[in-house]
Every structure is written in structure tokens, then in C-alpha cells.
Symmetry: C3
Subunit: 221 residues, 3 copies
């Protein structure tokens, strides 16, 4: 079973990875525009956003050299995204929305591929879910730190971000355990996380803060 | 000798690790409350504070997958700490003191376990001391960076933080070299670092700044 | 060929590494003075600046334990630099220039040694160039993050920083491919990157920003 599962994934996972890298890189390069960085700053943010989560995952599971440095396509994709944004980026007022949309797509794809790869390298299902989530949110955290922002994923006044990744990663873990993981179900799990994130952005879903704090927050903020 | 030392440590080190993870996680989750983060931000800060230093240590010594992702208890402990803080966290005015106390306890425990594990993986005694200190302060540095603060360990206007960890780690190195490391002496080394940190907080011990700067600081700050 | 190349490099690379570590550490310790950190903050900045890029490179290529923790000289050199800066640091008004100069020297040396070591560990030439650049700029990025600054390498209003490192790393890759890498050519590549960086600082060379943004920047900034 495991063998077939791995063989199947060789191409699907690579394709999902490249798409995830591309959309995350777009979000990084667009944030670079918003932060008024030069083209190299844009490229660094694009590479960090796109490859940071997977690099962390690969270092943790011992996949050395990490895919980010082993697969030339993985490394060059963010540069293509940077060039696209550099020459063709949309009007400034549309950037915020685009960053959010592409970021949500990367979130969905990476929680699926991160969980899958971690499991393939022998981690337990719970650890795989945790690492899948870390793969999905790690690049964005690195992007925000490098851009000088507080990581968006931590802020209470931002819409749910980690929860969609956890749901997507957990769906993959359940699919693995019930032997139902394949290209279709993996894509469905990615779409689930993506749509959950979009819905959270659309309807302003937020996570609760600690009890005491919540009640006193009215007079405080 | 080495074998006995390792066998002995299997349980003691695990127990010390879990306690250190728990108290560091409390400090991270409490900082999350103080920073007004939501429950996921609290959990991320708790996990990062508790596991960040050990994760760095394990990547450096090649212990892959790191204990943080290999031992389910290590991963779940910060979630328990987060839940505790979420539902039962103390009054806001008591948080500052609690963060400092738990942080000092984690500092003491991690400089001991970090030094021991680094030595077990074949690093030299000096490198083991350095990595033990990095294990102890790494989680807090990551916590502060993620929370958007300058790392406390670097600030001249904060009480001694790295020195207690260096003293504890050096004590462990001396115990290893003189063949006296066991559960009792390891606990004593952890307590030494813990008490040194508490004393530094109590009496405001600080480290000196560069000479030129110090003399001109009167008129400057 | 590869064997001779490695044998040759054993001493040259070590020497270049120590010099690069020393000058980067000076830049880190001097920034610590400028940021008014205490002596431990200075040492942490010196160690992070000097060893951060190489540590990242070694983790990526699987050289575990990394040179930073395996070679006592690598670890102690930043402490010597810290002590020098602590007791003898120049007048405050000269610090800014000194940080820039030493940083440029470290940049030149590390893009060469980083590219060489990555190639020796089996990475492709493009990935080796990328990792050589990451080795060169990684320590400075870590230094800036720890000091609470936005990484200088990303800012459009700063002179070219990544480009000299890319040029130096690419020169090394071409030397490797044409079988001309030796101590003299490696030093020349390092000098090329160093001088490019100095020229960028002297003449204010900057990288372009995204098109739309650049035209609207007149009224905005």
C-alpha cells in the first residue's frame, strides 16, 4: 500500500508543490511591492514565502538537501513569480485582495503536501498533521518577519488562518489512515482548506482569546 | 561509563524535558495573553517557546526527526499549557511575574538537558555548553521575535538572562568531565541556573555595555 | 579533479572562513554597541552574524554537526571580536562606516566559501550559487532581525547588497565549471564581490522597484 501511495504521489505531489510555490511566491512578491522593497527584496520575500515552510519541513524530517535546493524548478518558480509581479503587477489598490487570495491557495496546497511528505518520511499521524500545518504557515510567518510585520497568523484581529490548515492536514491524515488518499481526495482536502480560509476572510471568522482578557477587552482596546 | 550515563538519562532527561517544556509553554501562552493574541496565537507561542530551543539543538546535532516531532508528549504538553492559560489564566496584573518565574524554570532545566544531549551526540564540551545555552535561550528568542518584541536576552536594560544558562551549562560540563553527572547533580545544576536567574531578577543584576558607550550613556538615555 | 579541489581547499577554505567570521563578528558586535546592547547581546549578535549564514548552509547540505559547533575556532573567533569591540571600539561616529566595511568583507568571503562548500556536498551549480548567496546574506539578516531592524538587504533605499554576493557566487560557479578554482581565483572572486559592494555603497547603486510603484513613488514617499 505504502509503495503505491508513494509512487502515485511522485508526480501529483510535485505538481501541487509547484503550484503552491508559485501562488505563495506571488503573495510574497506582492507584499514586497506593498512594502516598497526593491526587486531583490521582492525576490527574497517570494523565495522565503514559497520555500520557507517546505524547507522547515525537510530539515525536520531529514530530507537533505531540501527540495528547495535540490529541485531547480522549485527554486526558479519564485523568480518567475517575482518577474511577473515586477512587470505586470496589478493596480496598487487591488494588491491586498490578491495577496490574500494567493496566500489562501498556497495554504491549502501546502497543508496537504506537507502532511503527506512528513508521513512518507516516517512521522506519526499527529506529528504529520503538525508539520503539515507548519509547512503551510511557515512561509507566511517568515515572510511577515522579514517584512517587519507581526506574523498575521498570530493576530487575534485577523481572520482564521491556522484552522483551515489544521482542517486540511487532518483531512489528509484521515485519508491516509483509511487508505483513501489519492490525487482526487488530496485535491479535495486542499480545496477544503482553501475554501475555509476564503470563507473566514469573507465572513470575518475569528478565534477566541483567553477568557479573562475577552471580557475586559471592551473597555481596553 | 558513557553507556551507564546514557541509560540513566533516558528517563531523567525525558522527565526534565517535559517539565521544562511545560513551564516554557506557560510563559509563551501568558505572553500571548499579554499581547492580546487569540487562542491559536497563544498555542503557537507556547509551542515555539517550549520546543524552539530543543528543535534548534536537535537540528544542529542531527537528531532527526527532532524530539519535538518524534515524541507526542513533547508536542501535546504546550497545548495543555495553552488550555490551562486560556481557561484559568491569572489576573492580568500577575502575568508579568508569572511569565518571568516560569521562564526562569525553563531556562534552568533546558541548559542542563541541552548540554547533556549535545554531549551525548558527540559534540565537544565547549560546543555542548554553547548548544546548552542556545537550547535554553532559543525558545525565548523565538517567542519574542514572533510576538514582535526585541529579544529580551539581548537588552542591556534587562536583568542577566544568558549568564545563568551559561553557568548551568558549564556546571553540567564540569560534572560530565569529572564523571559526577547523575539525576541529583543535574537537578542541582538546573536549580543553580534557576536561582541565579531569580536572584538577577530580584536584585537587578545586569551585564556591562561597551566601555565608551557606558560613559557617554548618562547624557544619552 | 574533485579530490584535488577538495584537498586544496581544506586549508584555504578554513582560513577564508575564519577571516570572514571575524569581520562579520566585528560588524555584529559594533551593531550591538550602536543598539546599546550589553556585552552578552554584543556576543550573541557577533556569533549570529558570523555563524548564522554558514549554519544555515550546513543544515541545508546536511553537514551535521555544522562547522559552527564542530570547530572550536569558529565559535571562539566571534568572542574575540566581541572583546575587541568591547574594550577598544572606535568613536561612536565612526561605527557606522566600520560596520559597513567589515560587513562588505564578510559578504565577499562568505559568498565564495558558501558556494564552494555547497558544491562539494553535491548540490548543483545553480543551487550552490543560491546557497552561497544565502551564506553571505544569512548572518546579516539574522543580525538585523535580532537587533529589531528590518533586514537591510531587503530595503530599496539601501545600496546593492545581494547583487555583489550573487556576482561573487556566480564567479565561483564559473570557475568550478571551467576547472579554474584555486586559492588565487577564489580570493579574486571574494575581492570582486567586496569591491562591488564598496562601490555600491560609495556611488549609491540601488536596485529598481516594481514598475507601477516606481512611477507613483514621487508623490508618495
Amino acid at each position: 500500500m505504502v509503495l503505491a501511495f508513494e509512487l502515485f504521489n511522485a508526480s501529483v505531489q510535485h505538481w501541487l508543490d509547484v503550484v503552491g510555490i508559485f501562488v505563495f511566491a506571488l503573495s510574497g512578491a506582492l507584499l514586497g511591492v506593498r512594502k516598497n522593497l526593491d526587486v531583490f527584496g521582492m525576490a527574497v520575500l517570494a523565495e522565503s514565502t514559497a520555500l520557507g515552510g517546505g524547507l522547515f519541513r525537510d530539515l525536520v524530517i531529514g530530507a537533505v538537501p531540501p527540495a528547495a535546493f535540490d529541485d531547480l524548478g522549485y527554486f526558479l518558480t519564485p523568480l518567475v513569480a517575482t518577474a511577473l509581479v515586477f512587470f505586470l503587477h496589478p493596480e496598487v489598490e487591488r494588491i491586498n485582495k490578491a495577496v490574500g487570495l494567493f496566500d489562501a491557495a498556497g495554504l491549502g496546497l501546502f497543508c496537504v503536501t506537507g502532511t503527506t511528505k512528513a508521513y512518507e518520511y516516517g512521522l506519526g499521524l499527529t506529528a504529520s498533521v503538525a508539520l503539515g500545518m507548519a509547512t503551510a504557515i511557515g512561509g507566511g510567518v517568515l515572510r511577515d518577519l522579514l517584512a517587519g510585520d507581526a506574523p498575521q497568523v498570530l493576530r487575534w484581529d485577523r481572520d482564521l488562518y491556522a484552522v483551515p490548515a489544521i482542517v486540511g492536514a487532518t483531512a489528509v491524515a484521515l485519508l491516509i489512515q483509511t487508505d483513501h488518499l489519492n490525487g482526487t481526495t488530496a485535491s479535495a482536502a486542499a480545496a477544503l482548506a482553501f475554501l475555509l480560509r476564503l470563507a473566514a476572510m469573507r465572513y470575518g471568522w475569528r478565534a477566541p482569546r483567553a477568557w479573562q482578557r475577552r471580557t475586559s477587552a471592551v473597555g481596553e482596546d
